[in-house]
Symmetry: C2
Subunit: 575 residues, 2 copies
């Protein structure tokens, strides 16, 4: 009986589909905004307009220009597993799930959000364009305060009014004027004038309650911990405890274009794409909100691409002052946790940022990698996948795996890798690194400017800590300006261009992990002499680059050699 | 193209369905338990056996007897909105979603869980029987310690080894030996010898961090707060911060029978049913785990029924030492938050324990209630429901609502209410109250024993605080023993049988909220003279009851009148 109902429903949907063949047209959000909505909450209008877009198969939603406020109360809701962000039941403003060939024309509208809302979510979409708009929040997910005095094991910090402070039993709680709590889990000092991480400043990670607080007066708060340091006048950033609300979430999509978008703030990564292909960002500016005096733009990486394919292009973008890297392009490694049969394993996520971001599918070609050497041990084809829960999946392969496959080896997709173009981008003032490059497709990095506190370019990938598949094959880095990088926390980078891969059992690694890197016609204008720090790289050419020394910062490191490489093969440095 | 794929899939399912018409038979879990599974984790066997039960349309799953361990790592996973418990992404051991005519025969198996797992989840099931088993956890979701000394604004508490204590910056964290954290959000003192809440003890609610801690030695911890009191030798219960893992979750089911089950522990309510009909509990014992020396059984109400219909029966059950009421049977009130049109409103949950527990459906008859008087203002029929998210729903009615319907009025179902029988049950030693009665169907409460720290029976319902629909119409309370109740925190009850309803604008209430209560042939053996405390009740008869005074506890209240009632009509007290 149930089955017949389903048949009927399918038929009805088919009929509905056939009736929607009129010429698609534009829907204007303004037509759905009632008096006062833009100033109060445009969410009902957004829902109504998107509903009509779906019903009429419209090709465009046109925003009205000016500023419109968007609040969480009437937003869409969905539990989402978002790679390298936090899983949660989220509120979403523009939920475009399942839409195809659809453009949001911003007409320079400022979407001004309040509270825990994700601006844009694209799941299972095709050919979506989002253009000409700005995104900001009335209150940021992180909190910023100026260091007013520095004592032994304490700092006194003054917070602007927008950061309401409560202290309960020496615990500091931030809220906004509506009472919404904004938890923090880390601190990092920024140079207020230079708008960048303070020279050599390191993160203070707060595991449970490891900082206590006392109100000196009004919003002047004394925070106490034995190792606290800081400089009067600098800005202390209380980093958001979770990455719940990225700016643009793109999952299982083909074709996502973001043009002329200012992303002044969001509570997570700026653009995070997973299992998607053909993504282009052009003139996307991740920068702090103008005229608000903020030091920080968004609370995590500007962009991040996981298990993507087709092309990834970032052209003429600005990635400034975000609380993490400019980009990270990689695949995922899922660990073998148990061998159930010669053709069957239990696989588990070992990095909580990957929970639920399953990529294994029947028919998929995978590599099984010895995590101790990160060398591919064998290839296999997935026959069946049984997801037990967000962490654990039982995988059956088309054939028995060879002898020697064992617990803790890692599985990654070995299918199409994305072609990457990063061109004309300006990156500065953020936490940590610039570009983390991990695609095995062709990658071209050209005409960019880097002023990054860690490595400007990092080749990552490891099977023991972050569980990110990388191992580049064909990278060109040309015509870039690398200016005075590595002024931040030393572990963020051992050189302008460095390798972050970890290989526990190096002696047994029969191959280099990264291969085929050409670095040419770049300018390195640096106070820190370390240009290249390579590890497990084969076939690298460094030629026709200019190195100019500056005294922008005092260099306090011990390494003076510009080119360091070990466990590498066929490295050519021409100077 | 997609549509044709769907059609094909429907046809395939239909074929699969037709092929499963063999005589249903029993599946034995033992056949799926591999060597060592029972001692380590039976979850893979449970999944496999349940899969086979579904595939073969088996009528019974037979457990093996003895003890089997169940862990969360390979458990089912699902985001669940469970009324009066906490919503979350849960791990579930026995997920019976969609199963019909199915019995789990426990054969006296002890299911011994570790960590955050929900034992049983029944959603959209028909005629499920679960019988002859016990449920316990290796480590409880709450924590228990013995008060070893009492000082000014502090208590020194010694915790058994199972409660691992960490103190970080004066914050106390509980964990188990695997490192799993068990958060607490409240404290309540229990009398260790009597195994009941300490005389007149009140909850300490911990909003954010309002208690600090210091380790005296090993697991002897000093907790500090200005108002802390206690008695040496008593047990302090650190109540679980969330109700994530109820014992039995029953949602949208018809026919759920739980027989001969010991529920020694779980992390939430024991049995929580919503939008379901025909539920029977017989010989269900919610009691502390034997031989473990625990004072507390489960962490919240023993049972709870929300928007149910058909029958609810609890026969020969024991509800002992749970951290909240023995039962609460009620409907839900959803508040009108905005009037969009004469036939259209925005409705919102105002009690976070009700988020996502939507009951409004097209075609449903509802009452719209003036929350100031809790009198029904009008009736209406739901035409359409658009769920915006877990808190907010847009409701369209079949006809325009009458003049005067306004913001803050509340909407509840006005359809079939459950018939309730609570018979032969033994209730003692728990926190708060006994039975919270709020069905408008016939309710019979007979042959029970009550030794409850608050009211043994409470008529609840209100449209401003808990938003629970009650308003009884036909209740018989007979042949019960009420023994020395109201020894706990005074707000838990103003008499043995009391009314907890709140009516802000009492003068305008044109009707009593509760009607038709017969109390006869009961024995009240009490140290506290307060037998009845009524409010907004009409047509109550109290006859042929025996009242015996005791000196079990010193009575410290001011009220000496056994029968107090105001704003009532037609109350007959025969002594």
């Amino acid at each position: 009986m149930k089955k017949f109902t389903k048949l009927f429903m399918v038929a009805a949907s088919l009929a509905a589909l056939l009736s929607c063949t009129n010429t698609p047209e534009a829907i204007y959000l303004a037509d759905y905004l009632q008096e006062g909505d833009a100033e109060r909450d445009a969410m009902p209008a957004i829902r109504e307009a998107l509903k009509v877009c779906r019903e009429t198969n419209a090709s465009r939603l046109v925003l009205p220009g000016g500023t419109i406020r968007v609040r969480p109360e009437k937003a869409y809701e969905k539990y989402q597993f978002i790679s390298n962000n936090n899983e949660s039941l989220k509120r979403i403003a523009f939920d475009l799930e399942g839409m195809d060939d659809f453009t949001i024309e911003g007409q320079n509208t400022l979407l001004l959000f309040t509270g825990f809302v994700s601006p844009f979510s694209l799941e299972n979409c095709k050919n979506i364009v989002i253009q000409d708009l700005s995104i900001d929040f009335t209150r940021t997910f992180h909190s910023e305060g100026i260091i007013e005095s520095v004592g032994k094991a304490y700092l006194d910090i003054r917070f602007p009014d927008e950061y309401k402070c409560d202290i309960i039993n020496e615990c500091l709680y931030f809220s906004d004027h509506e009472g919404i709590i904004y938890d923090f889990s880390n601190l990092l000092e920024f140079d207020t004038k230079k708008k960048e991480p303070a020279y050599l400043a390191s993160d203070y990670w707060l595991s449970k309650k490891t900082i206590s607080a006392e109100r000196i007066k009004d919003n002047l708060i004394r925070i106490k911990r034995h190792d606290l340091k800081g400089t009067v006048g600098n800005t202390m950033i209380f980093g958001a405890a979770a990455r719940n609300n990225p700016g643009f979430f793109i999952s299982d999509c083909s074709g996502a274009t973001i043009h002329n978008v200012n992303l002044w703030h969001c509570g997570g990564m700026g653009v995070i794409a997973q299992r998607s292909r053909n993504i282009e960002l052009k003139n996307v500016e991740v920068v702090p909100s103008p005229d608000k005096g903020r030091v920080i733009s968004i609370t995590a990486d500007a962009t991040h691409f996981v298990n993507c394919a087709g092309y990834i292009r970032m052209i003429d973008c600005k990635f400034h002052n975000q609380k993490d890297d400019a980009t990270n392009i990689h695949g995922l490694y899922m660990a073998i946790d148990e061998i159930l049969a010669p053709d069957k394993v239990v696989s588990k996520w070992r990095n909580s940022g990957q929970y639920g971001v399953d990529f294994l599918k029947p028919g998929m070609k995978v590599e099984i990698v010895d995590q101790k050497t990160i060398v591919t041990y064998c290839y296999a084809v997935v026959k069946d996948v049984e997801r037990l829960n967000k962490i654990t999946t039982v995988v059956t392969f088309a054939e028995d795996l060879p002898e020697g496959v064992e617990k803790n080896m890692v599985i990654a997709a070995d299918e199409e890798y994305p072609e990457v173009l990063i061109k004309g981008c300006h990156m500065a003032g953020n936490r940590a690194r610039g570009l983390l490059l991990g695609s095995r497709g062709k990658m071209v990095i050209e005409d960019n400017y880097f002023h990054i506190p860690g490595a400007a370019i990092l080749f990552e990938g490891d099977g023991n800590f972050w569980f990110e598949q990388a191992g580049v094959r064909d990278v060109v880095i040309r015509n870039n300006m690398f200016e005075n990088g590595n002024f931040g926390y030393p572990t963020w980078g051992a050189a302008c261009i460095a390798v972050g891969t970890r290989i526990p059992d190096l002696d047994k690694a029969t191959q280099c992990y990264h291969r085929g890197i050409l670095i040419e016609n770049n300018t390195f204008r640096v106070f820190d002499p370390r240009i290249l720090n390579l590890f497990s790289v084969e076939d690298l050419i460094f030629r026709n680059n200019t190195i100019e020394m500056t005294d922008a910062y005092p260099y306090k490191g011990k390494e003076t050699e510009p080119f360091v490489y070990h466990h590498c093969k066929n490295i050519v440095i021409e100077q």
